[in-house]
Symmetry: C2
């Protein structure tokens, strides 16, 4: 049995349909590639009764990993940390490590620690803060019984940066031993904005593949994109390799039609250990 994961998107703008839940889809893709069984993506409003209930629900069902997004900022309606503390029966306290992370961000810019800034250091007792490489609010990690809960910010850029720099590595240790096949390629001559719809189309076909583009040149003058293609399998490396290669061939075919040039850079085959 694969470890189970839930993704919880907290915020009125998501549950009211004002924005589409792209954070949820992005996280699901990443968790699946690591070998987690994503069982729910749940959007809830910034309401105590709903958020507390969803966290408690996950704990009582022994979901292995819960990742929430949203509600970590400095304003009055950012209350995820408070709700999380309630859900797990812990006090909400100023986390010294979190406060230090926040202080560093502001003192560099000569800004004082106001009440709203300190608020972002409030965490459930026993929580572990996770640095935010591109924003100010640290993420929160708590463990209750068998369940790890990681609360990330809702701003996609911050959510993704924290996930990629810190969370993914942590989760790999909790993930099953999967076989992972990775390929890096270089695409020249096509702007990233033209690659995006092609990648979206191809990626939709395969449940266990994830493709990420990293722009290296300038978007219009001389576009150079490094593409990372990864897939995983519980069974063997060939299965993962096959999905990556299929994805790769379909992408290349489309890129060539647009006059792009494609070069293979690197291949990694990671055995489940």
């Amino acid at each position: 049995m694969l470890p189970k994961a839930w993704i919880v998107s907290i915020g009125n703008e998501v549950v009211s349909g004002q924005i589409v839940n792209t954070n949820g889809a992005w996280l699901a893709k990443r968790l699946i590639v690591l070998g987690f069984d994503v069982r729910r993506i749940i959007a809830v409003p910034d309401l105590e009764e709903e958020v507390v209930e969803v966290f408690r629900d996950a704990i009582s069902k022994s979901v292995d990993v819960v990742i929430s997004t949203g509600g970590l900022g400095p304003t009055y309606d950012d209350r995820t940390s408070e709700f999380l503390a309630k859900a797990i029966g812990k006090k909400l306290i100023v986390n010294d490590e979190a406060l230090k992370l926040i202080e560093e961000k502001y003192t560099v810019k000569g800004l004082p620690l106001t009440e709203h800034r300190v608020k972002m250091a409030l965490m459930p007792e026993g929580a572990k803060p996770i640095p935010n490489p591109v924003g100010t609010a640290p993420a929160i990690l708590v463990e209750v019984n068998k369940t790890v809960i990681i609360a990330l910010p809702g701003v996609p850029k911050e959510m993704k940066a924290i996930y990629e720099e810190y969370v993914e590595e942590f989760l790999k240790q909790r993930a099953p031993k999967v076989y992972r096949f990775e390929k890096w390629i270089k695409v020249t001559g096509i702007p990233e904005s033209s690659l995006a719809p092609i990648i979206d189309k191809v990626v939709k076909k395969y449940r266990t593949v994830y493709v990420k583009s990293h722009p290296r040149g300038s978007e219009l003058a001389s576009p150079v994109i490094h593409l990372y293609i990864v897939a995983s399998s519980l069974n063997n490396l060939d299965e993962a390799r096959e999905i990556v290669e299929k994805t790769y061939r379909e992408l290349v075919e489309e890129f060539l039609k647009l006059g792009g040039r494609v070069e293979e850079l690197e291949i990694n085959a990671v055995k489940g250990e």
Copy 2:
């Protein structure tokens, strides 16, 4: 207290992040305009334990309206009807009314009722089928205690058509007495594909507004679009009117920049009764 609603998106492709949950966002918008309090948008895989649990959860919490999407088609992995029957403790039987609806669709085209086609008429005992104006699988309506559950197909075109032709009218009777302000306008000279991003941008600002475009001319040669702008308020008509007018003004400003012409067609003010 507003009546509560949950939206349940059933399908591996949603919970795995292969597709972003646009159905959920669309339904949330529509339910909020009617005056429902959308408390959750939940994506789950096509797995019995998950789907049954979510339906049961909603019933035990006396959620007023649950709308699910997905899993109603003819293939083996379309099992929403079966799971719904399990969740509410009813037998799964061939619904005669549903069978007639399906038969009509196929006999018009001279096609026989195969096993896979009959499958789409299997519904929980006591369920009411809802016709599908653009596809074949009828939707399903059941009531359990205080909760109405409506299972719609996952194909966006079918889901929207059934909602607009049948479900919305039904839900209005369960909705609170809201004030609704509606405005129809005509936009000439801008293709719908250019209107779309503008509408998306403006609509995001207001929780209770919904804007729908109806193309009346040809997309490129002579684009004519009728736009429907609607907002609701629990308190008074002015509140709803103000949101519609603000939305209207912001839209018009952008449309004029693109060289479009705008004409007001019709205004409806609906008092909560």
